[in-house]
């Protein structure tokens, strides 16, 4: 309380009254303040009560508010993954049951009827597993990645297609990076073939509409939208790429700078600098700390026109025109792509397609389970098989389009180890070298030893070498497989037969006979998609078909599925545990923050009560002194 200094000669009546009034008012105001603190329980009721501490209080409150979302997210993630755990427990039990059934029915003492009735049980297991794969949690399909609005596993054409996504969803659970809270269904049920077609870099050309954000950049670091220097020796301009969106914007900015006669243009997958002034020295350099010129591949000092930049490696996007592929050369020749899943064959023709997206749409809608997409690095197109239980072959439809795109499933570079669902091609054993014999139409016999062949090209070479003048081997120009053509000119049949009990010809898909001049081999290396459904369907077929070999094979598959599911369940359990411990940590952190906040904004009752009592005493003293002082007057004594 401020006290007016007393150094005054006289004290007037109003002064006495005024002082009493103001000291009573001040004490009452202070009492009111303490009373507020006591009744609200808060020391700071408005930020202006204590701006410094209020700042901290507001920030702490914001931290607590933010953690409300974190806590909710942790709860949601825990219940989501617990639901997954539940599903995985059921799935494990079902696969165990299937495995037991397989072992029980593999023996020679089991009759076809018994196997048929076991098949009915497997059918039911399959249906239940499919239901688990398509189970929902809170209206979202649990195993559909980011496509949770539709069932991820769809029965089609005797197989099961995965139409979900492997992309897991992530959210924030603390102030660091987002982490995933959904599972990748592929790691549980399987979904896409392990073999991926698409080995070719498609190298799209720069177009006026190519966005800078879609360039991998000359150094592979994208394109930094900063500034660089352009000079002709006498004039130097700083070209600022801030706000530039497309390759054409870069060209426009260089041209607008009018440095001597220097102009820029687009060519193929790179920028070109040129000059209208003969002998002009073009110098492009980055400013300190900048990488724009390097990213654009045009760092140069040259007077030899045109100055050709390095490739800026434009990425393949949905918007990339097909005509811009291969640095603008496009796809050469007609034809298209033939896709087959064993029962259905579809041909994708390039006619009428303009962009990569159009092509992907056509392939994805071909109805054979093929899934075409742009690869992760944006350098080309991948095709995978999304259907379990159905093979996928991708070949030419009369041209070389599939080869150019690098998506041919049966190509010269195909490894023999990829044949027969990864079981490879068996060769003659027991010290024998001849794997199969080809009988040409003129009756001559060609013994073929594929020797140490590792690729299809090796096999074709071996056949062509052994059968010189009699028979030639090549890849099918439409569809897939090896084609044997008789050149002996005889009138007999063209026959391929196994030698030395070898399975080589069968494994290559070329055993058989034909009265014609060409023997079209079967595709024994289609893309197969492993997974729970594929194995259950194999088991079902094997039981129905009374095939012990099939049952054994399917049982092995189910065993590996089981291992995968158990691993996935373990990983999922660890994730649940980690979310739970994060939730516990968060509670601890909240306690600490709340106590800090309370220290700042909450009333210290001991202190406040003491102050309250103290102020009451002061107020009483005020009243008493005032009443005494005002009562006494000199007049009382002047009688």
């Amino acid at each position: 309380m401020s006290v007016t200094p007393i150094q005054l000669a006289r004290i007037s009546n109003s002064q006495k009254i005024g002082r009493s009034q103001s000291s009573i008012a001040l004490t009452q105001a202070r009492l009111q303040q303490v009373q507020d603190q006591l009744t609200t329980g808060r020391r700071i009721n408005a930020p202006s009560d204590d701006p410094g501490n209020a700042t901290v209080a507001i920030q702490l409150q914001q931290v607590l508010d933010k953690r409300v979302a974190y806590a909710d997210n942790l709860t949601a993630a825990t219940s989501q993954l617990s639901q997954v755990d539940n599903s995985l427990a059921n799935l494990t039990a079902l696969l165990q049951q299937a495995k037991t059934l397989a072992s029980a029915n593999v023996g020679s003492d089991v009759s076809a009827d018994q196997r048929n009735s076991a098949a009915a049980v497997v059918q039911s297991i399959y249906t239940q597993v499919l239901a688990i794969g398509n189970s929902q949690f809170g209206g979202t399909y649990l195993f559909a990645g980011d496509k949770g609005n539709a069932p991820p596993y769809v029965e089609a054409g005797g197989g099961v297609s995965f139409v979900g996504s492997s992309r897991t969803l992530a959210n924030v659970f603390d102030d660091s990076k987002a982490i995933g809270f959904t599972v990748d269904p592929q790691t549980i049920f399987g979904g896409l073939s392990a073999r991926t077609l698409g080995s070719t870099t498609l190298d799209p050309a720069l177009t006026a509409n190519t966005r800078l954000s879609d360039l991998a950049g000359a150094a592979g670091n994208g394109v930094s939208k900063t500034a660089f220097k352009l000079s002709n020796g006498s004039t130097t301009a700083t070209i600022d790429l801030t706000g530039a969106d497309t390759a054409q914007d870069v060209v426009n900015r260089i041209n607008a700078a009018t440095v001597g006669g220097i102009t820029a243009s687009l060519s193929g997958d790179h920028f070109i600098l040129s000059s209208a002034v003969v002998g002009e020295l073009i110098t492009v350099s980055d400013i300190a700390g900048g990488t724009a010129a390097k990213d654009l591949g045009i760092t140069a000092t040259s007077s030899a026109f045109p100055v050709t930049g390095q490739s800026v490696a434009p990425k393949v996007t949905n918007l990339t025109p097909l005509g811009s592929l291969f640095a603008g050369a496009g796809l050469i020749g007609g034809g298209g792509i033939q896709l087959s899943n064993g029962t259905n064959t579809a041909t994708v023709s390039l006619a009428g397609l303009t962009t990569v997206e159009d092509l992907l749409n056509k392939i994805n809608q071909s109805g054979v389970g093929a899934l075409a997409r742009i690869n992760a690095n944006g350098t080309g197109i991948d095709i995978v098989n999304s259907a379990q239980g159905l093979p996928l072959s991708v070949g030419e439809a009369g041209g070389t389009i599939a080869t150019q795109l690098g998506v041919k499933s049966f190509s010269n570079t195909l490894l023999l180890s990829d044949f027969n669902n990864g079981q490879g091609v068996r060769t003659a054993g027991n010290g024998n070298t001849i794997d199969f014999t080809i009988t040409a139409k003129d009756g001559s016999s060609v013994a073929v030893d594929i020797g140490a062949a590792t690729t299809v090209a090796d096999v074709l070479n071996a056949i062509n070498a052994a059968g010189a003048g009699k028979v030639t081997a090549s890849l099918a120009t439409t569809g897939t497989g090896i084609v044997l053509t008789d050149v002996s000119g005889g009138i007999g049949s063209l026959t391929v037969a196994s030698a030395n009990l070898s399975n080589t010809a069968e494994d290559l898909g070329i055993n058989g006979t034909t009265p014609g001049a060409t023997l079209n081999g079967r595709d024994t290396a289609p893309l197969q998609t492993p997974g729970v459904f594929s194995d259950l369907l194999s088991l079902l077929k094997a039981l129905q078909g009374n095939s012990t070999a099939g049952i054994t094979h399917a049982a092995a598959g189910i065993q590996s599925d089981l291992t995968q599911v158990i691993n996935a369940r373990g990983a999922n359990g660890a994730a649940v545990k980690s979310f739970q411990s994060r939730a516990d940590d968060l509670k601890g952190q909240n306690l600490a923050t709340e106590s800090l906040l309370s220290d700042i904004v909450d009333t210290d009752y001991t202190e406040a009560t003491t102050r309250y009592t103290n102020l009451q005493t002061i107020l009483q003293a005020n009243y008493q002194t005032t009443s005494k002082m005002l009562q006494t007057s000199l007049l009382d004594y002047l009688r």
């Binding site: 007016t4 200094p5 007393i6 005054l8 000669a9 006289r10 004290i11 007037s12 009546n13 109003s14 002064q15 005024g18 808060r42 009721n45 408005a46 930020p47 202006s48 204590d50 209020a54 700042t55 507001i58 409150q61 914001q62 508010d65 933010k66 409300v68 979302a69 909710d72 949601a76 989501q80 809170g138 209206g139 399909y141 980011d146 496509k147 949770g148 609005n149 539709a150 992309r167 969803l169 992530a170 959210n171 924030v172 809270f181 509409n209 966005r211 706000g243 530039a244 969106d245 900015r253 607008a256 918007l319 997206e357 159009d358 749409n361 809608q365 007057s633 000199l634 007049l635 002047l638």
Partner: protein, 565 residues
């Protein structure tokens, strides 16, 4: 030296004591009047008289005037302390009101709403398809918008009250100034004839000046009994002339601004103290806060819409219309002619057209050319470009862009907008409006929550856009000079709190100064009844003594006269 001389002295002494008694009684009567200045008589011994014997003898006593016990310099200091105190008190009172608008430490204020809003997006990311959580996002968005609207309208209300107060107080100040001018005239007339001061008129004038100093900072000079009043260096009252104050409303950038002016020539009034000074300072402070809140809302709207407009909902649009009107559809979108509150930049966006029956998606790049080279993108050209996309039809209707699927089988969505044009136009936007008073949630979303864009890759179950929006809460923004939205809010609140706290401290300090000066003034000019009682006794005794003197002289005269019988 005669008996009659003594009688005369006695008579004078009686008259002087009566006069002194009158002064004392006037003082006692005004003991409770704080405007009153204690008066005291100037009593002197009367001049010498030469008696018959040639000696000079005293002539008794004389009352030659009545003094006001006043220190004019102290009065001036007191007035300036009163001005300071009133300015700080006014600021404290009003800023406290502004502070309470935000309820910054409560859970229901703007801050709590911001938290709830961003949390709802974070929770949506857990289940992006969940209809209930979508509704929660929309509801909390509306809550936040209403909070902004309410803060804005309450601040507007405070501005209106401030303006009303300003004109009321300036009217009072004009009346008081008139009173001073009138009193100047009266004092001049009253004092003009004889000697002595018109003490009570002067008291009235001092009271008027003190009241005036409560309203505005004044300084005074006295010239021949008349007081000239100045505000800063500008005269308000010169002699008996009053210039008067008035409030002028001007519109600056669409915002009404009040300022003080002199009535006679409309010149600006440099009011920095008193209630007027306080009100003007608060008005400026409230304007600043309004600007900051509008800036916060504007940044939230544009930054969030930029993310939202590049995202996709559970379903595509079958038709949509932009929410922001373009004044001139033939003007480049980033120019003043287009009249957009948020300016798009050079860039492009992708529009995806989905055939509902086949599920086939066709993407098309739409360029927004604001690079300065080539024909710039206008609303008309943008509509033309969109119209050229297979499956879409687009048109400009009343300055708004309307886009619709060419057939019922077609839906469309947007992505990868690097230009901000969609957000600037209000296509596929979350918030509508441009500032705190106009912000709202896009009615298209409340009508169909499935259009809420939680996805950024086109998959309905994706949550990328929701996660990005939730992170906007704490993302440093270039448009806020590297501050986050919450940082901006915090700095606004803390600024306001500091100003309010400073006003409180200043008010307490100014009050202290005023009390000290008032004590000094009271000490000099205030009436003490004790002192007056003593005076009273003294005067009574002096009167009795003088009366006794007259009586004694009378007896002596009678003795002389008896000798003559």
């Amino acid at each position: 030296m005669s008996l009659f001389g003594s009688l005369n002295i006695g008579r004078n002494a009686l008259a002087v004591q009566q006069g002194a008694l009158q002064i004392t009684s006037n003082n006692i009567a005004n003991a409770g009047n704080t405007d009153y200045t204690r008066q005291s008589g100037r009593i002197v011994s009367a001049g010498d008289q030469r008696g018959g014997n040639g000696f000079l003898s005293g002539g008794g006593v004389d009352l030659i005037g009545i003094n006001r016990n006043i220190d004019n310099a102290l009065q001036g200091r007191l007035r300036s302390a009163v001005s300071d105190n009133n300015a700080a008190g006014t600021a404290q009172q009003w800023l406290g009101q502004v502070e309470s608008v935000f309820n910054a430490l409560g859970s229901t204020g703007l801050d709590g709403q911001l938290s709830a809003f961003f949390n709802s997006w974070s929770k949506l990311a857990n289940a992006p398809q969940d209809a209930g959580q979508r509704q929660v996002v929309l509801t909390s968005g509306q809550g936040l918008a209403r909070s902004f609207n309410s803060v804005s309208s309450q601040l507007d209300g405070i501005q209106t009250s401030l303006d009303q107060n300003l004109s009321g107080v300036s009217g009072d100040a004009t009346r008081l100034a008139q009173q001073v001018a009138d009193l100047n005239k009266q004092i001049s007339v009253t004092e003009g004839g004889g000697n002595g001061q018109a003490n009570n008129l002067r008291d009235q004038r001092d009271a008027a000046l003190k009241q005036l100093s409560q309203l505005v900072n004044i300084s005074t000079t006295e010239d021949k009994g008349q007081v000239n009043v100045f505000i800063g260096s500008q005269p308000l009252v010169l002699g008996s002339a009053n210039r008067g104050l008035s409030v002028q409303q001007t519109i600056v950038n669409g915002v009404s601004q009040a300022s003080l002016a002199f009535q006679d020539d409309g010149g600006p009034v440099p009011a920095t103290g008193g209630q007027l000074g306080g009100l003007l300072a608060v008005r400026q402070a409230v304007s600043d806060v309004q600007g900051q809140v509008d800036g916060l809302a504007g940044n939230l709207i544009f930054e969030l819409n930029k993310i939202h407009s590049s995202g996709q909902g559970l379903v595509g649009f079958s038709s949509t219309s932009s929410t922001n009107v373009v004044a001139d559809p033939t003007a480049a979108l980033d120019t003043a002619g287009a009249g957009l509150a948020f300016k798009p930049t050079n860039g492009s966006f992708v529009v995806q057209v989905t055939n509902k029956s086949t599920g086939q998606v066709t993407s098309t790049l739409v360029k927004v050319n604001l690079s300065g080279t080539g024909a710039p993108t206008t609303l008309n050209s943008l509509a033309g470009d969109l119209n050229g996309v297979s499956g879409l039809s687009a048109a400009v209707v009343n300055g708004k862009l309307t886009i619709s699927g060419a057939s019922p089988d077609v839906t469309f969505s947007f992505s990868q907008d690097s230009s901000g044009a969609l957000a600037a136009l209000g296509v596929n936007s979350f918030f509508t409006g441009t500032d705190a008073s106009t912000v709202g949630v896009n009615a298209a979303l409340t009508g169909n929550p499935q259009l809420l864009a939680a996805s950024a890759n086109g998959s309905a179950g994706d949550n990328t856009s929701a996660v990005t929006i939730a992170a906007l809460n704490t993302k440093p923004l270039a448009s806020l000079q590297g501050l986050t939205l919450r940082g901006k809010y915090n700095s606004t609140i803390i600024n306001l709190a500091s100003n309010t706290a400073i006003a409180k401290t200043e008010a307490a300090a100014a009050d202290n100064v005023q009390q000290t000066l008032e004590a000094q003034r009271e000490s000099l000019s205030g009436v003490s009844t004790d002192e007056e009682s003593i005076n009273l006794v003294q005067q009574q005794k002096a009167y009795q003594a003088a009366a006794q003197l007259v009586s004694t002289v009378n007896q002596m005269l009678e003795t002389i006269l008896a000798m003559l019988k």
